[in-house]
Structures are given as structure tokens and as C-alpha cells.
């Protein structure tokens, strides 16, 4: 399985309405719940953990990309979502850029290698000029999935 296959048209959002990073977490978590990737009862715990993680240091990794991510004890399966924000959100990213591309990861068991490979995969996409340009202009979730598969399969 490739990491691109973790995403579905229900878990990618081409036009986030959030005005803060916190609202963006909620919006993507809601999409994960609506698509049955995350149990509704896990949302408060995930949200709290995401806030706590962000306080330790921004997950804005540069190039307008953020990877808010948390590990939840007892979770059965990893859930990932992707959201695009047209105007950009303030994540206090290390390079000072506003964040337009948000990969949100709620992971389960402690698997350092898998987590590291996912971060690596996301950062490679985030450094890919074509991916950033096209995903930020995507008009539908289907287009976003197409880009993830096309540019994220290497």
C-alpha cells in the first residue's frame, strides 16, 4: 500500500473554511469522522492532543505546509486528512510563511519507522513545486486525490 491510498475523497478538503489552526484541526477531524476513519468519541481527545503538540512547537514545516500529528493510545487505525486553505493560516511556521496545505495525522500504535516514512513522504510532496501549485488550485477532492496518487507514488 502507498501512503496516497490512505486518503479518500471524503478525507481531503479543497477549501477549508477555518480561520485559525485550531478550527482547521476541527474541520479535518470532522471529515475523518464523517468518513468513518475516526470514531466521533475520539475527537475531543485528538483535538486536545493536537493543541498540546502545537504548543510544543509549530508543525508548520515550511513551504506553506503543516503536519499537525498526534498519537492516540488504543486507536485501532491511523487516520489522515488533507486540507487546503486558500488564504493561508497562521501556524507560526518556522519560515514565517502562512500555511495553505495541512496534512493532519492521527496515528495509533507506536511504529517509529512507519511514522518517519509518512513524514518523509509528506515532506517530499511539500517540496514538490508541482504538487504545491496544483493542489492549492484544486477545484475538487477528486483532483486532490489524483495529485496525491500521481506525485506521491514515487
Amino acid at each position: 500500500m502507498t501512503f496516497a491510498e490512505l486518503f479518500t475523497e471524503q478525507t481531503v478538503l479543497h477549501d477549508l473554511k477555518a480561520t485559525t489552526s485550531d478550527e482547521c484541526f476541527q474541520e479535518i477531524l470532522n471529515a475523518l469522522v464523517d468518513s468513518n476513519r475516526l470514531a466521533k468519541k475520539e475527537v475531543p481527545r485528538a483535538l486536545e492532543a493536537l493543541r498540546r503538540r502545537e504548543k510544543l512547537g509549530s508543525t508548520g514545516i515550511g513551504n506553506g505546509v503543516a503536519i499537525p500529528h498526534v498519537k492516540l493510545e488504543g486507536l485501532q487505525e491511523m487516520a489522515v486528512g488533507l486540507g487546503i486553505h486558500r488564504g493561508g493560516l497562521d501556524f507560526r511556521a518556522i519560515d514565517g510563511e502562512r500555511v495553505r496545505i495541512v496534512f493532519l495525522v492521527v496515528r495509533s500504535a507506536e511504529d517509529a519507522g512507519e511514522h518517519l516514512r509518512l513524514l518523509q513522504w509528506i515532506s517530499r510532496l511539500g517540496r514538490n513545486d508541482d504538487f504545491r501549485r496544483f493542489v492549492a488550485a484544486a477545484k475538487s477532492p477528486a483532483e486532490m486525490i489524483g495529485l496525491l496518487k500521481e506525485l506521491g507514488s514515487a
Binding site: L56, G57, S58, T59, I61, G62, N63, V65, I67, H69, I94, D95, A112, G113, H115, L116, R117, L119, Q120, I122, S123, R124, G126, R127
Partner: protein
Amino acid sequence: MTVRREVRVVNRQGLHARPSTRLVEIANRYSSQISIHATGQTANAKSVISVLTLGVLPDTPVVVEADGADEAAAVEALCVEISRGFGLLDEER
């Protein structure tokens, strides 16, 4: 002149997001050009997204290389922090 030194990554999950961010914060204190070499790839030590593309696993050697006015100090500071897990080892337990 360029200064290079090898050091081992000790963080339990390798160079994941937080250690990478710390690394970049330290690198940004120096004017030298600094790169990290690992797993046959090279990353810009002043960019988190670049360092994350290396996917450095725990207990893996990396080479820190700096070129510029403060190259020796930069390599020293980075190697010290990498070898102590950026002070994050307690939290990772």
C-alpha cells in the same frame, strides 16, 4: 574550508518533526551554509521540510557539514545537540 563531522541520531523515533525543528533552529543561529547528509541524501539544515525528507531512523549516523565564517562553531553546536537527542529523550520515553 569546510568542516564535516559524523554523529549518531539517538532520538527514539529518529529525526521526526520535533528534533528536526530543533536542528533547524540551531542551524539558523549561524551564517554558514549547513547541510546534513544521511541515507545517501543531502538536506539543507536550515529547512525543516528538507531535513524531514531524509527520514533518518534511530541509531543512524548523519554527517553535519558547514561552510562559512562560523562553520566550526555550527558543526560543534549541531553535533552536541544531535548526540544528546536535542534534550527530547525524556519525553520520548
